[in-house]
Amino acid sequence: MLDTPVTPTTSALPILRVSGLHKEFPSSNGMVEALRGVSITINKGEFICLLGASGCGKSTLLRIIAGFEKSTRGSVTVYGAEVDSPGPDRGMVFQDYALFPWLTVRDNISFGPRQRGVPTPTVVKETERFLDMVGLTSFADRYPHQLSGGMKQRVAIARVLANDTDILLMDEPFGALDALTRSKLQEELIAIWKATKLTVIFVTHSVEEAVLLADQIVVMTAGPGRIDCQIKVDLPRPRDVSSPEFNALRRDVTRRLTSHVSGGRSIAATADS
């Protein structure tokens, strides 16, 4: 299972295509190469985990996809259209929440639709729907500073969902949460993903989290950031973390992640032009 390069089945519809992406940051002593030749194709409805040690360029890749950062070379396209700025089709959930502290939970969730001029009755209806989906109806009138970390992240997720996004980008969203809250939110995220049929790109440095959530794990290596391999996870859901299959896969992925040596099967070789 591990070393099977994933070739998209012909029926799958590619929603996001990253090709030959390079990113360099200027620094005091020349340029820092953060990404080198990253290419991936992601199909509609897939749950992708970007897995790698910290500093390997996961956030940079996600921020380029989101349009917050410009690539040095290469391209990102959504349904064939070039991405060059942030847009409602790609919704980001940040690790530090980035909620608007002056808005209540309800107003945070309705922020996007209101800014885009969606008619008020629709906004109100959708907001209530997503408040309910993340279980925060009774906290709707609270301000962010009155919420726990887990609740804040639920608001951040609902805010993106209410904006009718196509691709959910998540940068270590549960990294700052305690273990219990994290596993609760992982479960809820899977339920939301199933209900909404969203495409999810989820950044994590936790092997267990990646194996638990992903349809497909994209393993990245550092110095400079490249894609090491893509691993398909076809364990049935809901996944049982104590099952032998889960643990076998987790061991394999961990080994892959820590080996770092021989360049691995770079997907760039198969997907790039």
Binding site: G87, A98, F100
Partner: protein, 290 residues
């Protein structure tokens, strides 16, 4: 602004379980307030006694005793004691000064906040205006007095201009500071949700900079009351500043002190009003609720 509110520590954070204060807590709270008032009056009362004592002891005729000022204040407000040009004239002087202070203050607010928001967000504008604004800033507002009298003539316009100048800088600079210190993630979040161009100012820049803007407003209002006395030296017949100046020329120290006390109290009340606006608009931020 009072010392206590300027350095007030963040209110004990109301966590996720923030509940309304139960009725049982009302009594200790009232007691706490009374205690605060009692403590706050210790020093003024001591000063009052010291003042009275020193005037009697030295037998000076240059400074009236507190009772003399109290009589003057009554006469100034309601008349019927001295029956001179100042009897019962408080309302007109007060009203004129308030108009000028808030005229200048609102002008400073109406220009300082938008300019500060734009300076904070638009690098080109910053490059254009920042050097000049920084050069003009160290010039004391009082130094503008002669020029302002040439521009606006002798009269209320000059006073309003000085108040405007004095209030403008703290408001504008605090707004710029507020904008510059907004977490850039919030702009990214707003952009990613579809917020564009000028919408960003209303939806994100202004509310995010509001804590700092309120600091600027309170400082600005303080300066406005300081500058009204200078402003009303420019030959206006009415106003609290004018009254103080007249009192000086006529050697009526009771009138001077009366004017000082009224300005002090009004400035304090106006700061309290700004503070309650601050607390209302920043109720989302526990660290900015003084």
């Amino acid at each position: 602004m009072s010392l206590e509110t300027a350095v007030a520590a963040p209110k004990s954070g109301s966590g996720a379980g923030a509940a309304k204060t139960p009725a049982g807590k009302a009594a200790p709270r009232l007691w706490g307030r009374l205690k605060a008032i009692a403590l706050a009056s210790v020093v003024p009362l001591c000063l009052l006694f010291l003042w009275d004592f020193m005037v009697r002891r030295t037998g000076t005729r240059l400074i009236p005793p507190p009772s003399g000022v109290a009589t003057m204040m009554w006469d100034f407000a309601f008349g019927g004691i001295y029956d001179d040009a100042y009897s019962g004239s408080l309302p007109i002087h007060f009203w004129k000064s308030v108009q000028r202070v808030y005229g200048g203050f609102f002008l400073a607010t109406a220009t300082g906040i938008p300019l500060g928001l734009m300076l904070g967000r638009i690098p080109l504008l910053r490059a254009l205006l920042d050097p000049m604004l920084s050069l003009l800033r160290p010039v004391p507002v009082t130094a503008w007095l002669p020029l302002s009298m040439i521009f606006f003539g002798l009269g209320p316009k000059s006073a309003i201009f000085l108040v405007f100048l004095g209030a403008f800088y703290p408001i504008m600079l605090n707004t710029v500071f507020g904008v510059r210190s907004v977490d850039p993630r919030l702009f990214e979040a707003a952009e990613m949700l579809g917020c564009r161009g000028s919408q960003m100012f209303r939806a994100v820049v202004l509310p995010a900079a509001l804590p700092s803007i309120f600091n600027g407003l309170r400082l600005g209002a303080g300066f406005a009351w300081i500058l009204i006395v200078v402003g009303e030296m420019t030959g206006v017949p009415e106003g609290l500043g004018a009254v103080i100046m007249d009192g000086r020329t006529l050697s009526r120290t009771d009138l001077v002190i009366t004017g000082m006390i009224i300005i002090g109290v009004t400035g304090y009340v106006s700061d309290r009003i700004l503070l309650s606006l601050n607390n209302y608009f920043l109720r989302w931020s526990p660290q900015h609720n003084a």
